[in-house]
């Protein structure tokens, strides 16, 4: 999809190159992309295709080598450190593949840690209930299953009430059933609460739940596919 002035997110000719050890990796090559407000976008592609890089750039935790990343009409590439921090704090909810929970804090505390960052967070228990973890809130990450840990990570992202939810392989570490439940939670957040969701995965079976499917290959957009009737995640199989 070409850049669109009405879009919430616009990537304009974005390239990203970084060094990994002694290798120079061209993660993205002049990628352009638009995402409208309230959309659920699934970014598909094999390993090394640049999926996570797009998420990191939109999330303000990485900067492109060239190009513009416009969110809500503002090029966040021009942000300074303080503005980027505020941007991440107020607007972004991250869900990582490896959960990245703090092992020395309980599930509730992991969520509250993020809640402390914003002025009007959602009530922690409400968010934990929403992801089905009300009963397990007092447990430490080490005492939770992978699916439960991922739900804590989603609750942590949601508690700040961010308009944009970025999920990096949220089901990558989970079994099919748990993964499907996580996708249901994400679907509800998108449809029920109207939040924009960018979901990165290599699992093409997830694509049907998206409003927009972006396929990447070797750092370029291979295809863009709009889906006028997204499927219910409960019906997904893989």
């Amino acid at each position: 999809m070409p850049p669109n002035d009405q879009a919430l997110i616009r990537l304009e000719r974005v390239s990203k190159t970084y060094r990994m050890g002694e290798v120079e990796v061209h993660a993205l090559r002049e990628v352009s992309l638009s995402v409208r407000q309230g959309a659920l976008v699934v970014i598909l592609g094999p390993s090394g295709s640049g999926k996570t890089t797009i998420l990191n750039l939109v999330g303000g935790i990485d900067v492109p080598t060239s190009g513009r990343v416009v969110v809500d009409g503002v090029d966040i590439v021009r942000y300074g450190d303080a503005e980027l921090t505020a941007y991440r704090r107020e607007r972004i909810g991250f869900v990582f593949q490896f959960f990245n929970l703090i092992p020395t804090l309980t599930a509730r505390e992991n969520v509250e840690l993020a809640a402390e960052l914003v002025r009007s967070p959602r009530p922690t228990d409400e968010v934990l209930d929403a992801v089905g973890l009300g009963e397990r809130a007092a447990h430490f990450p080490g005492e939770l299953s992978g699916g439960e840990q991922q739900r804590v990570a989603i609750a942590r992202a949601l508690v700040k009430n961010p308009p944009l939810l970025l999920c990096d392989e949220p089901t990558g570490e989970l079994d099919h059933e748990t993964g499907r439940r996580i996708l249901q939670v994400i679907g509800e957040i998108n449809r029920g609460e109207g939040r924009t969701v960018l979901l990165v995965t290599h699992n093409s079976a997830i694509a049907p739940m998206a409003d927009l499917v972006v396929r990447l290959r070797s750092g370029t957009v291979d295809s863009l596919e709009e889906n006028p009737a997204p499927a219910d995640p409960a019906g997904l199989r893989w």
Binding site: N56, G59, I61, T85, E90, F94, E109, E112, L117
Partner: protein
């Protein structure tokens, strides 16, 4: 409590052993700093306080003999606060019932009806003198203790063939004999041959044939600025009585020695803590840096969630600050407590009358600031570095570099064919340069810490052994109270059990070169002396030479002379109204002796030098040195004591014991440093190894998942740690040796050299002990971490990066 603070507390708890070890390292450094620095402060204050309480002299003047009333004339000099006139006589004394206890006693008169207004005594046992004519003495404390004398015991004074018996009224400390030496030239207290006692002037005068006379005044002044003028005025008043140059407090022998000792102590109190804190600081830095690096993904997550860089840095700094602050406070408290022990120990050794133990808040504050600052500095760089990386990068796994593997494989072509159990550890050493370097540094630092203290102990022991065994070859020696003829040596050679005997002449003199003067002992030795072997600094044998003086290293430094120079040699007890008796002598060479500030001449040359000025008989000697069959030693001692004019008989074994006592403070300081060094070394190694193992949690978990047994993994970890430790040991041993030399260089001030000079000697056993101890600690340190890694949930550890 904020959640970040809660996280901090729980993180600290989870890694409590590592943080404890880091804190312990800092605490040791701060404790050592506090203990030594505060001890120095305490001792300094104790001496000053004791001097004030006992009204220690500001100056003194000795003269031949003068009526008691001259003291009153000195008192009238403006600026003089108090004056005490005393008669001082050195006599031979005997302790009844102990036939071998014959020695030189210095009798000093004190008022019997009041306490001295200058140089008062602190009575430690018994009482003060009871009456003007009572035959009572007060013994100087250390002398009484050495001979186990108590109030009520008797002591006999021999004077011109007559004997007088005194009863001991009490024991006391005197500010002018806190360190009991006969003169400036005698650098060591020898309670077996010299003691000080105080007696009523009304008894002493008649006893020594000088009734109503005094031979010294000591005075205090009210205006320090006028003191030089007052001293000169006092000298002018006393010139008619053969006054010597006035001696200011700073030049008073006991005070001067104690000041020198304190100066040396101050050098230790700065150098050791500086070294220890530096090592502790560098180690804590590497440890915290690695610990923070392990937290990179958490830092990435926190920043991705919206925490600012500042709050992330502050969060990680808080851990350093908390550990550093707490450890510093505890270290300062421990340092204060330890300073009390050190002060008491030192004070008891030197008989300091009043001990002042005051918390030195300045030193405590500095200790807390240093300890905390070290941790802050150690924490700030890695925390800032971690927070500076982009969150995305922090979240990404670190990529091992591969180039070094290629390099190693090139150097070791057979590496690829080796068993994995060897290949992996060998490659790991090169693949993780940061880990390898920090471990090598830690092990090298630990070895150095042990070696510095043990090397100093070795060096002091070697210096002592060299003096006792290489320089002195006599077993027993007799010192005469008056000059004797060398014919006595033949008599001594005839005593059964005597293998060899030699005469020696010792004259206290003052050497001068330009504007530099120094008091020392001129020793005349037989040219072919078998019992006193002189050595050059390089260890070559030297002999007294007709070519001139052989000067010890202290004299060389003090006078700043070189071979071939000419120095003035004068008798120090020169009467001021006369031309000073002085001779010139050429410096023929230099000798190295650990103890003593001595110059050597052949016996005859020494006699010739002052024959015209001293009542020296043609073959004058002041002592005989004897090599003996030790089975006959008691009999030989008896016979030597019976020689005419025999003042004291010293056995080398007792001399060694006295040397040990004299060096006890220094050696104890080294021993304490060794304990600290070992504790610090072990905590450093423990930390390094623990982190080494913990850093590899997921690697170990992966290997176990693949089915590699625990013992095999332990073997690989051990091999890698042992390899790095071996590199550390190889670097640490020479570094330790170098540091011993540097330390000896740094503490070998002129003050230190006057007391005890030593060269760098590190015994082979020290290398072995240090290396073996560290290797054992390396191996033992693996246990807790390996146990922890073995308990890992394999599924989680292989998947999760944040554990």
């Amino acid at each position: 409590m904020s959640l970040l603070a809660l996280k901090l507390v729980r993180d600290l708890w989870q890694s409590r052993w590592q943080y404890l070890a880091v804190g312990f390292t800092v605490m040791l450094g701060v404790t050592l700093y506090g203990a030594t620095y505060m001890s120095y402060g305490n001792l300094d204050a104790s001496f000053r306080h004791s001097y004030d309480r006992l009204r220690f002299e500001d100056f003194g003047v000795s003269f031949h003999a003068a009526p008691e009333r001259v003291a009153e004339r000195v008192r009238r000099i403006p600026g003089v606060r108090a004056v005490e006139g005393r008669l001082i006589e050195d006599v031979v004394i005997e302790i009844p019932g102990r036939s071998t206890k014959k020695l030189i006693g210095r009798l000093i008169s004190i008022p019997s009806d009041r306490r001295p207004s200058v140089n008062d005594l602190l009575i430690t046992r018994g009482r003060y003198l009871s009456g003007r004519t009572a035959r009572e003495v007060i013994l100087e404390n250390s002398f009484a203790r050495h001979h186990k004398l108590r109030p009520g015991d008797a002591i006999e004074v021999e004077r011109a063939g007559a004997r007088a018996r005194f009863r001991i009224a009490g024991m006391a400390m005197s500010p002018e004999y806190l360190y009991v030496i006969r003169s400036k030239q005698d650098l060591m207290p020898f309670p077996d041959s010299f003691g000080v006692m105080f007696v009523s002037g009304d008894v002493l005068g008649p006893l020594v044939g000088k009734p109503g006379l005094i031979s010294s005044i000591v005075a205090t002044t009210s205006d320090p600025g006028r003191r030089p003028a007052i001293m000169q005025e006092a000298k002018r008043l006393l010139d008619a009585y053969g006054a010597e140059e006035p001696v200011a407090r700073e030049d008073q022998p006991s005070h001067q020695f104690l000041e020198q000792d304190l100066t040396s102590f101050r050098a230790y109190s700065v150098l050791f803590p500086f070294f220890f804190l530096s090592v502790a600081g560098l180690t804590v830095y590497t440890l915290l840096m690695r610990m923070v690096r392990l937290q990179r993904p958490v830092i990435g997550m926190l920043m991705a969630t919206g925490f600012s860089r500042r709050s992330v840095v502050v969060h990680y700094l808080s851990a350093s600050l908390l550990v550093g602050g707490l450890a510093s406070v505890l270290g300062s408290a421990a340092g204060f407590w330890l300073s009390g022990l050190v002060t008491r120990f030192y004070a008891s050794f030197l008989s300091v009358p009043y001990i002042m133990l005051v918390p030195r808040w300045g030193a405590i504050l500095v200790g807390v600031m240093i300890g905390t600052g070290v941790c802050l500095a150690a924490g700030i760089l890695p925390a800032r570095a971690a927070a500076r990386t982009s969150p995305a990068e922090a979240l990404r796994a670190e990529v091992p570099s591969s180039g070094r593997v290629v390099l190693l494989d090139r150097v070791m072509p057979g590496l690829g064919k080796m068993a994995l159990a060897w290949r992996i550890p060998l490659r790991n050493v090169f693949r993780h340069p940061r880990r390898t370097i920090s471990t090598v540094f830690g092990v090298a630092a630990a070895i150095s810490l042990i070696m510095v203290s043990q090397g100093l102990l070795d060096s002091s022991e070697a210096a002592m052994d060299s003096f006792i065994h290489d320089t002195l070859h006599d077993d027993v020696r007799v010192e005469f109270a008056t000059y004797q003829d060398r014919g006595v040596v033949n008599g001594v050679r005839g005593i059964p059990g005597v293998i060899w005997a030699e005469g020696a002449l010792e004259i206290p003199v003052e050497f001068r070169k330009g504007d530099r003067t120094y008091s020392a002992l001129l020793v005349g030795l037989e040219g072919s002396s078998r019992l006193h072997r002189l050595q050059s600094e390089g260890g070559e044998r030297m002999r007294p030479t007709e070519a001139g003086l052989l000067l010890g290293q202290v004299l060389r430094a003090k006078l700043g002379v070189e071979q071939g120079d000419t120095v003035l040699v004068s008798l120090p007890r020169t009467r001021s109204e006369q031309e000073p008796v002085q001779r010139t002598a050429r410096v023929a060479g230099f000798v190295w002796e650990s103890i003593g500030t001595v110059a050597y001449l052949p016996l005859d040359r020494a006699r010739q030098l002052f024959r015209a000025d001293l009542p020296l008989p043609p073959g004058a000697i002041t002592g005989v040195r004897v090599k003996a069959d030790l089975r006959y030693l008691p009999e030989i001692r008896e016979r030597l004591l019976g020689l005419p004019g025999a003042g004291a008989v010293n056995v080398l074994a007792d001399f060694r014991r006295m040397l040990d006592d004299m060096l006890a403070v220094m050696r104890n300081v080294f021993a304490i440093m060794l304990l600290f060094g070992m504790a610090l070394a072990f905590s450093i190694v423990f930390n390094m190894i623990t982190i080494n193992v913990l850093e590899r949690s997921s690697e170990v978990a992966t290997m176990r998942t693949l089915g590699i047994g625990r013992w095999k993994i332990l073997g690989m970890i051990t091999l890698e740690n042992a390899l790095t430790a071996a590199i550390g040991v190889c670097l640490g041993l020479p570094a330790g040796r170098f540091l011993v030399s540097a330390f000896i260089e740094a503490i070998s001030t002129e003050e230190q050299m006057e007391l005890f000079a030593f060269k760098t000697v590190v015994y082979p056993r020290t290398y072995v002990i240090a290396a073996v101890a560290i290797v054992i600690v390396v191996l033992l340190s693996q246990i807790p971490a390996v146990t922890q890694v073995n308990r890992l949930n394999l599924a989680r550890a292989t998947k999760e990066r944040v554990t």
